[in-house]
């Protein structure tokens, strides 16, 4: 009992071939869209790559790019095949290619689905990478003279300005790192030496934040320094002044940004996957219908098309047997036509003469 059996007349087969040709061309376009989405995501990730601790997340856009290119190629071939399938004579050209093509397309469609699911599941890894990366960036903020880290200050400042955030989870993160380089500290000054001695590691810690944490929507000029003492600036009560600095942490801001981007990309890829599945089903029906027509011999007659010839379980067993027997290629089997010299040759029983009864 075939799975999903549908009967096709000749006119229906031709119509199916035409429709599939058009759908394959649309799939080429969606493949290009997939490619474009991959490039977009790669550019977005590379923009803030310096504040990510590992680059493993890049495999998502790489997968999208390769799948997009593969989609263009596979669907272009599919459109050529479908165009020829309307005619039984031309179909003979493609007969042997069809089955491998369908298997390839099936695996490729599974890759598209995997890409879509990756976009949703990458959040945990991204979060860890971002938090670790931001922690490092804040630690190396002051190292503008160290090669390899000299642009971290600018990157972090621009990040805080653009995403309107401060620190990793809040502005207090800046109180725990030394973000002013020793080059700009007057070591002869008593106040500086006191601060350096006030903590175990000898870091110059202060309750101030960089200028990029300042909020533009605050009605007062920015209060960056001496944030934890209430008597620092006139009429500044740090408990009650919500607008002076950005309140959001950059870890959360970046995570939200990338999650939003990847969710919309994931949704688009899912829709593309559904479309590809539809095209694959159509091509499978067309292939089986054309093969049955050839088997019946009469190009004008009706034929059946199906997704699977036997039921799912039987097909699975059949394929599994094929795979099992593939490995036995070079092994001896029990074919009686082959003369296999064996150890038991000496024990051979001499052939008995047939007694002819005279």
């Amino acid at each position: 009992m075939a799975v999903g059996k549908v009967t096709f007349t000749k006119a229906e087969r031709e119509k199916l071939a035409e429709v599939l040709w058009l759908l394959n061309w649309i799939s080429v376009v969606t493949g290009a869209i997939l490619f474009g989405l991959g490039i977009f995501l790669k550019v977005e990730i590379q923009k803030w790559q310096e504040v990510m601790s590992e680059q493993g997340i890049l495999y998502v856009p790489h997968m999208l790019i390769t799948t997009g290119l593969a989609a263009c190629g596979i669907n272009y071939l599919g459109s050529k095949i479908c165009l020829d399938c309307a005619d039984t004579n031309k179909f003979l050209r493609w007969k042997l290619v069809m089955m491998p093509y369908i298997v390839c397309t099936f695996f490729f469609t599974a890759c598209v689905l995997a890409g879509a699911l990756l976009c949703y599941s990458i959040r945990g890894q991204l979060e860890e990478s971002l938090y670790q990366g931001l922690r490092n960036a804040m630690r190396f903020y002051k190292d503008t003279d160290t090669p390899g880290r000299c642009y971290l200050k600018r990157t972090l400042d621009l990040l805080q300005i653009q995403f309107q955030c401060c620190g990793i989870s809040g502005y207090r993160d800046w109180f725990q790192v030394q973000w002013i380089s020793g080059r700009y500290l007057d070591m002869t000054d008593g106040a500086v030496v006191d601060r350096l001695r006030s903590n175990v590691e000898g870091k110059y810690l202060m309750d101030s934040v960089p200028f990029s944490c300042c909020s533009t929507i605050s009605p007062r000029p920015c209060v960056q320094h001496r944030l934890s003492s209430a008597s620092s600036d006139f009429s500044y009560d740090h408990q009650r002044q919500p607008l002076n600095l950005w309140r959001r942490g950059c870890g959360q801001a970046l995570l939200d940004h990338y999650t939003g981007v990847m969710q919309s990309i994931g949704l688009t890829v899912l829709l593309i996957w559904l479309f590809e599945l539809l095209v694959l089903t159509g091509v499978r029906y067309l292939q089986t219908a054309m093969e049955n027509v050839l088997r019946l011999g009469d190009p004008e007659s009706e034929s059946d098309g199906w997704i699977l010839e036997k039921s799912l379980a039987e097909t699975a067993c059949y394929n599994f047997d094929i795979i099992k027997n593939l490995g036995k290629c070079y092994q001896v089997d029990d074919d009686p036509n082959i003369n296999v010299p064996s150890v038991a040759a000496e024990l051979e029983v001499p052939s008995q003469q047939v007694q002819v009864q005279s």
Partner: protein, 360 residues
Amino acid sequence: MTLLKMKFNQQRRVRLAQGLWLMSWLAVTGGAFIFCLGVYLKTELLRRDEVMENAEIHVVPNILMMVGLASMGTNWVASRVCQDSLDVSRFPRWKVPLLAWFAMAALLCCLLLTVVVLSYALQGSLEDSLKVGLRNGIRFYKDTDVPGRCFQKETIDRLQMEFRCCGNNNFKDWFEVQWVSSRYLDFTSQEVKDRIRSNVDGRYLLDGVPFSCCNPASPRPCLQNHLTDSRAHYNYEYQSEELNLYSRGCRQALTDYYMGLMNSTGPGVLSVIMIQMSVLLSMRYLQTAVEAAIASENPEGESEGYLLDKGVKETYQDVRAKVLGLLKFGQVDPSEDASGAAEGAKTADTEKAATPTPAS
């Protein structure tokens, strides 16, 4: 002597009509492009409306938008004319509208050229407008509690950060203005009292700038206060410090931005002018060739097309005479009366001369 005469047989006329039809649709696209350009320029100017004092520069995008729409309509009409040009029965009805069409197309070309010239000529006006607008913005920076000015601070901060500029001409403009509101000044502090007494107007002036002037590319954390005092900060030299703040003034930054925008659209506008001119010339050839063909006995045969019937000077004199004639339509002509009286006198004389002869 006709100007630039060319012979057209039927096939060439057909090809001319087809080519002109394509070109007029290309010109419609050009018109749409000009319109979109105008809209884009207008939105960009409106975004920074708060730091511009007058809207003189808006004439450039306004003209672009009008010309874009008019060009789309005019060239659509041209494509209709092309479609009718090969049909002997339908072409004659376009005779008069075509004159209006030529005038319109010439006007559009002139307007586009004017726009190109204006976009350079109005640079001075834009700079002046920005100068006054930015000066006001900096003066009202502290007035975040005054209705109508409460967003000046945010506007100026965002402007300085986005365009990477500071102050009007440079960062020293902030030294001349009180940009810290009195609400946040502790009047019991000696330092504050000294500063307020140090100038005639009693303003709290300081040699500091807002945080939005800070340059993120500076290797050291931003120094905003006591900028003129080299001893106030360790390892700081006021004269040689370049990277700490943005060195460009916002007026220069904005002018450069808008001039760059208008210059980059220059080639596009010039190519649209070229397309429009070629549509105009081809339409003239088509009109004269088809009219000559229709007028001759054999509409399918050869005909001549030209740009102008007579030479340039004669055509100009003709047109001038016609226009003056139109203008004089309502006036009574005094020279006609005098000549009429002279003629009347002459006929009376001849009559008088005629009558005495039978008497004599």
